[in-house]
């Protein structure tokens, strides 16, 4: 008996060590929407034996969205097919109710089924069912939270999308791929040299990035499912700032092969390199417009860095036009997925995240921090993730494009940088 107990303890110790070895991202919500939609998400039936509670994932996602408040934190399980007590939920001021059931299927699979109700109208709003294995209950939770957001707001939820970011700890750089909330991190690459500028392919299957592992910046494309990668560009000098065309066939990159840093376009297999910017200055950080016809980029051709736009055919097809005017220093342009907004970093007191309405040219500062960097839009265009410093710590931060909802994502004791928010997965 003693031996068995010791064996169990040693297994538990082993598991504990493994859990500690993966640094967990902490989320601190520092701002919420002006009005929060009251919803009750009850504990799903039959999930108490699972390694991850689907309900907890759904509740956390809705809290992270910032525009929902969950009124039910209790443990009472309510089945997906139960008849809800609408008068009770109405008395608790819930406007919507989500109830669900987890059912074990043959072959180690589980069906997670949920239903959404409009409490005031005593009416079902529909629901969905997700089948996952034991390792993917978080995925099921994200899919259900996305479904709730879609049914209540008409907007596509982003909880099932993924993030990539770089964690620096004790001289080691790790390129991580995680869920949209920074949880469930998996390491794509580990290096003793810096890794910067990850960029997701539009199909979400590959990430391009710049790695200094050969003592200079070289661009790689990394296939996430297999870990296989190709060198996209290793020209003489710097190879950096990869960014995908909307159809995934090409990337815009910055190379210094012609001595000054200029913008080039290259096919995703590394062929067909073509220089498109033509200046004696720095032209870098290219980004394709949503329609794929223009390239936005940073250039200091006018003396200080500003955002410019040129044709994807290059400056030989027509002169580049300046886009940013409000600040003396503007870098890191990022286009919203619908092409209507431009996020960038401006020196305005500190280095702060700005959002420009491309239709009106109006610019709004989204933060009050001083070291904002590398903004990246969520797939639905409603959130921006960026790197910044809070109380001296290098963290990621998220802000809604209306500036209301704010979160800080951090890993205690580690530097987190270079975020890139992945696309919708179909």
């Amino acid at each position: 008996m003693k031996i068995i107990l010791r064996f169990v303890i040693s297994i538990l110790t082993f598991l504990a060590i493994n859990t500690v070895a993966i640094a967990q991202m902490q989320i601190e919500i520092t701002g919420v929407g002006q009005s929060q939609y009251p919803i009750a998400v009850t504990r799903f039936l039959n999930e108490s034996s699972l390694p991850t509670f689907v309900t907890d994932v759904v509740r956390a996602d809705l809290a992270n969205n910032g525009n929902f408040v969950n009124l039910e934190r209790g443990e009472t399980e309510v089945a997906e097919n139960a008849k809800p007590d609408f008068s009770m939920w109405s008395a608790r001021r819930a406007q919507a109710l989500a109830i669900g059931t987890v059912t074990a299927l043959p072959g180690g699979l589980y069906e997670v089924k949920y239903r959404l109700y409009d409490v005031a109208k005593n009416q079902s709003l529909g629901g969905t069912s997700v089948t996952v294995d034991r390792n993917n209950f978080r995925k099921a939770g994200h899919a259900i939270a996305d479904d709730i957001v879609q049914r209540l707001t008409g907007e596509r939820g982003i909880f099932s999308t993924r993030l990539s970011y770089v964690v620096k700890n004790a001289g080691r750089f790790q390129l991580m791929i995680s869920d949209s909330d920074g949880q469930n991190p998996r390491e794509a690459l580990s290096s003793t040299e810096p890794i910067i500028s990850p960029s997701w392919s539009p199909d979400g299957k590959r990430v391009a990035y710049v790695s200094f592992e050969s003592k200079k910046p070289v661009i790689y494309i990394h296939e996430l499912a297999t870990g296989k990668r190709i060198v996209l560009s290793n020209e003489k000098g710097n190879n950096s700032a990869p960014s995908w065309s909307p159809d995934g066939s090409k990337l815009a990159v910055s190379l210094s092969r012609d001595n000054n840093t200029q913008v080039y376009v290259i096919n995703a297999d590394g062929s067909g390199l073509k220089r498109i910017s033509r200046s004696m200055a720095i032209d870098t950080e290219p980004q394709f417009s949503a329609d794929g016809k223009s390239i936005y980029f940073t250039s200091d051709r006018g003396g200080s860095p500003q955002i410019y736009r040129m044709s994807v055919d290059g400056e030989s097809a027509g002169p580049a036009s300046r886009v940013s005017f409000k600040h003396a220093y503007a870098t890191s342009p990022r286009l919203s997925p619908d092409g209507k907004y431009l996020a960038y970093i401006a020196r305005a007191g500190g280095f702060r995240l700005q959002l420009m309405d491309l239709r009106t040219g109006e610019v709004m500062a989204l933060t009050q921090t001083n070291y904002d960097e590398t903004p990246t839009f969520a797939a639905n265009g409603k959130f921006l993730l960026y790197a910044t410093r809070v109380n001296g710590r290098q963290v990621l931060a998220a802000v809604s494009t209306d500036g209301q909802v704010k979160q800080i994502l951090s890993i205690p004791g580690s530097v987190v940088r270079e975020p890139a928010w992945g696309p919708f997965m179909n």
Binding site: I196, K215, P217, N238, A241, N260, T331
Partner: protein, 167 residues
């Protein structure tokens, strides 16, 4: 080290030929090593890598830049001359020039700014006749700071281009 490779190869070849002509046992790599050692025995310990010799005019390999400046200081012209002279008389010797910036600003733009610093050094060496095939100008931007201190002294330390001799 690379520039001595031809020498090693030819010694190796001689040894191989000698071994073959004698029709005896195979070539011992030790013989090659011994030959190499005796060839450099009379030189100092830095003979292969004079850039590591504190007494050498090319021992200093860092160029510091003023804030927001991408021009090599005129006081560094003598140092540029020394490196150019060495590279011109050692045509097989290759270098990488690594540019760096302080931490003010965003990462990709700083990468390009750091490249302006390494490029400034490269251009001066090129003007003095150093072949383009011997040099590569790259940048670490603000990604690999030498000094982690946030004060002006630390930042000044990071506004720098380093010549790295490839062994």
């Amino acid at each position: 080290m690379k520039r001595y490779l031809p020498k090693i190869n030819s010694l190796f070849l001689i040894a191989v030929v000698a071994g073959l002509s004698a029709c005896s046992s195979g070539v011992k790599l030790d013989d090659v090593e011994a030959a190499k050692k005796s060839a450099t025995a009379s030189d100092s310990k830095f003979a292969n890598e004079p850039w590591n010799d504190p007494a050498s005019p090319i021992f200093k390999k860092s160029f510091y830049f003023d804030f927001d400046s991408y021009t090599v200081k005129s006081s560094d012209q003598g140092l540029i001359n020394s490196h150019a002279q060495f590279l011109n008389s050692n045509k097989n010797q290759k270098i990488v020039i690594q540019g760096n910036t302080d931490d003010a600003g965003t990462s990709e733009y700083n990468l390009a700014l750091g490249q302006k610093r390494s490029e400034a050094v490269r251009k001066l060496l090129s003007l003095l006749g150093v072949s383009d095939t011997q040099m590569e100008a790259v940048s670490f931007g603000k990604e690999k700071p030498k000094s982690l201190s946030n004060d002006e002294q630390g930042r000044a330390e990071n506004r720098r281009a380093d010549i790295v001799y490839i062994k």
